[in-house]
């Protein structure tokens, strides 16, 4: 395989509207809605991190919305997905509650983890998002176990692991890839390669910048796509998803090349850390997954600029209402500390 990301890693490339090809553009209106909702929600969180209203560490995925949404378009509520530290987008893309997310980052009892988890521990089992954890690489084997359970259930479900390029440096990643491959488990490995692990660029952490090369090593079907192109992300999974639903699918590795606009954690853009980040950030904003999809939908006549503006406005209202509601929610009672440790 080609072990360089070439133009996929080029901040000056892929600024044009995305191409639908053979894909029906209509479902991507909903995709755009989810991407904008993620963007606005994370912007609201960033503002409140900046002012100190939110205290817990928040790792934001602004700029990476297309990867989460493109994958989620294939998922159903009986699937079992797991995320990592940067998983607001996965949670919302799969249909997790905005009210529950906001209450959770504020540590409130009505949060999706009852205020026990904060930003880094989100779950929405009712939509198939089983949990996110910030220990890098730790949820990858857990997703493989969910895939093992899906294989035993024989209902065509899939285990899904969302992680970043840094997780590919962990032993848990390699063990999990091997186990899924040798047991032919229905597991989707989604690597969002944003080229940074904390502050360190991939060129300083890995000898090649294509993470999918590990899928080759583990004899696993794979694709590396423009992660800011939701159609490309979605298309790459069509065949694998059909196989899972038919009960014949094994593991698949998807690498979505993208870029986070903000820093590793918090509201700042971290232009002062890591090689190339300062030069690349403004160029990457030209590769905005939201703008490119909106322009494409306008071009094919499915969503006019005016309709898009109305969509954005409605989402902004929803975010404001939800945030205001979250601020009124109660904190957990002190007895939650000991009462939530063991099964009753």
């Amino acid at each position: 395989m080609n072990q360089s990301l070439t133009s996929l890693a080029d901040a000056k490339a892929h600024h044009e509207p995305i191409a639908f090809g053979d894909a029906d553009p209509v479902p991507f209106v909903q995709a755009l809605h989810r991407m904008v909702r993620i963007r606005r929600a994370e912007e609201r969180i960033a503002e409140n991190v900046a002012t100190g209203v939110i205290k817990c560490p928040c790792h934001l995925a602004i700029g990476q919305e297309a990867a989460a949404v493109g994958v989620a378009m294939h998922l159903r509520s009986t699937d079992r997905a797991f995320g990592a530290h940067r998983s607001h987008a996965h949670f919302l893309a799969m249909g997790g509650s905005l009210d529950g997310l906001f209450a959770e980052v504020l540590g409130r009892d009505t949060g999706v983890s009852r205020g026990m988890g904060g930003s880094m521990h989100l779950a929405a089992k009712e939509v198939g998002f089983y949990g996110s954890v910030p220990i890098v690489g730790a949820s990858i084997p857990i997703a493989v176990g969910a895939g093992l359970a899906a294989q035993m259930d024989k209902k065509g479900d899939v285990g899904v692991s969302f992680f970043g390029d840094g997780a590919a440096e962990e032993g848990s990643f390699h063990e999990s890839m091997n186990l899924a491959s040798v047991m032919n488990l229905p597991v989707l490995f989604v690597c969002e390669n944003n080229m940074f692990a904390s502050h360190l660029h991939i060129s300083l952490r890995q000898p090649k910048n294509v993470v999918a090369r590990y899928a080759v090593a583990h004899a696993m079907p794979h694709a590396t796509v423009d992660g800011n192109d939701v159609v490309a992300v979605w298309s790459a999974l069509n065949a694998a998803a059909a196989a899972w639903r038919a009960g014949t699918g094994g593991p698949f590795f998807l690498e979505a090349v993208t870029y986070r606009w903000l820093g590793h954690v918090g509201h700042r853009d971290d232009q002062d850390v890591g090689v190339a980040r300062k030069d690349d950030l403004s160029d990457w904003k030209g590769r905005d997954p939201v703008r490119r999809l909106a322009e494409s939908l306008a071009t094919v006549g499915v969503l006019s600029p005016k309709e898009f503006a109305a969509m954005e406005s409605a989402i902004s209202d929803e975010v404001s209402t939800s945030w205001a509601k979250a601020l009124t929610q109660p904190f957990p009672e002190p007895n939650a500390l000991l009462n939530r440790v063991w099964a009753k």
Binding site: R80, S113, R114, A138, I142, G147, S176, N178
Partner: protein, 329 residues
């Protein structure tokens, strides 16, 4: 005369697996060497033939992936038992045990269950050295959200495996190769609740309380026999469940005898024995009246050569000596 059939500790574990696999369709087992006749002693012989290789799964050399996969399957409604044929190799999976499985319920709001069993086999001695000899129950009993069980008898070896698997929380089940030849006549296997597992009095005496768990219960019982010959009657308490600790019986016994010797096959510093003694020391009704001592491994990695092993591993004779000192006899 009725012939009695005795079951060994190792075979009793196998009986526990067989009960679970026969009666509970969501239970399955995975680990390294499960299709091998020698990895796990006689504790899993031919289970994969009887129940199928889909439910008794031999896995790659991957402690992290296997343990994590157990969590994922547990979250998906199964009751996995992950087997680590030596506790030492289980250390590679500590993130999954301590930071994932044990935390999951609390950090996601208290409603989500991880009904996972992690079986870690203690397999020391015989000049196996520092990296094949650890047990580390004190480490794991320190972790909120993780049950820790140490069976001392064949019956407990079987029943506690069943209780662990039916428990809705993660359970570390630590069985001990030095107990595998113990034999006992067993009633038929049945479902057991972890709520019914608490410390047991294995022998009744008025002069001194001997506290242990797993293999040290065996040593304490041997020591109690020797002490009885010297006129010292020992109350022998088998802890069984190390986390969450249920110390009431220990305290009752200590109040009765006024002397407590805690014996633990783990290191001394910050260990289980210290915790048991602290539980007595912080109770006003006990602290003045109970004299305490402990026997543990010295704070050194396990040695290889025989003379050093003899210095490292205590015996029933060591327990007798310390008990006599406590009793002033």
């Amino acid at each position: 005369m009725t012939a009695t059939v005795k079951t060994s500790y190792g075979v009793a574990i196998r009986d526990g697996f067989a009960h679970l696999l026969a009666k509970h369709p969501k239970a399955f087992v995975m680990g390294q060497g499960l299709w091998s006749p020698w990895y796990v002693g006689n504790s899993m012989t031919n289970l994969e033939i009887e129940f199928g290789k889909e439910r008794v799964i031999d896995v790659p050399v991957s402690e992290v992936a296997t343990t994590g996969a157990g969590i994922g399957a547990a979250l998906s409604g199964y009751r996995p038992i992950v087997v680590h044929p030596r506790v030492d190799f289980m250390m590679l999976a500590v993130d999954q045990i301590v930071t994932q499985a044990a935390k999951w319920r609390s950090m996601f709001g208290g409603d989500v269950s991880v009904p996972l069993v992690i079986r870690g086999i203690i397999n020391r001695g015989g000049e196996q050295g520092a990296q094949h000899s650890q047990s580390l129950q004190s480490w794991f009993a320190h972790i909120p959200g993780l049950h820790v069980l140490m069976p001392a008898t064949p019956r407990d070896a079987r029943d506690m495996l069943i209780a662990a698997t039916l428990c809705d929380d993660p359970v570390l089940y630590m069985d001990d190769r030095w107990c595998y030849e113990l034999e006992e006549e067993l009633p038929p296997a049945a479902d057991v609740s972890i709520n019914d597992i608490a410390p047991l009095r294995r022998r009744t005496g008025k002069d001194i309380t001997l506290v242990g768990c797993g293999y040290t219960t065996k040593l304490n019982l041997e020591a109690a026999e020797l002490l009885a010959a010297l006129g010292i009657e020992a109350d022998v308490i088998d802890l069984r469940l190390l986390n969450p600790l249920k110390p009431a019986l220990v305290h009752e016994s200590a109040a009765k005898t006024g002397r407590m010797l805690v014996v633990d096959g783990d290191w001394r510093s910050c260990g289980l024995a210290a915790e048991i003694i602290a539980g007595v020391a912080e109770r006003p009704e006990l602290r003045a009246g109970v004299h305490c001592a402990r026997i543990t491994h010295p704070d050194a990695p396990a040695p290889t050569s025989k003379p050093l092993e003899q210095a490292f591993y205590f015996t029933a004779a060591d327990i007798v000596r310390e008990a006599r000192t406590l009793c002033g006899r």
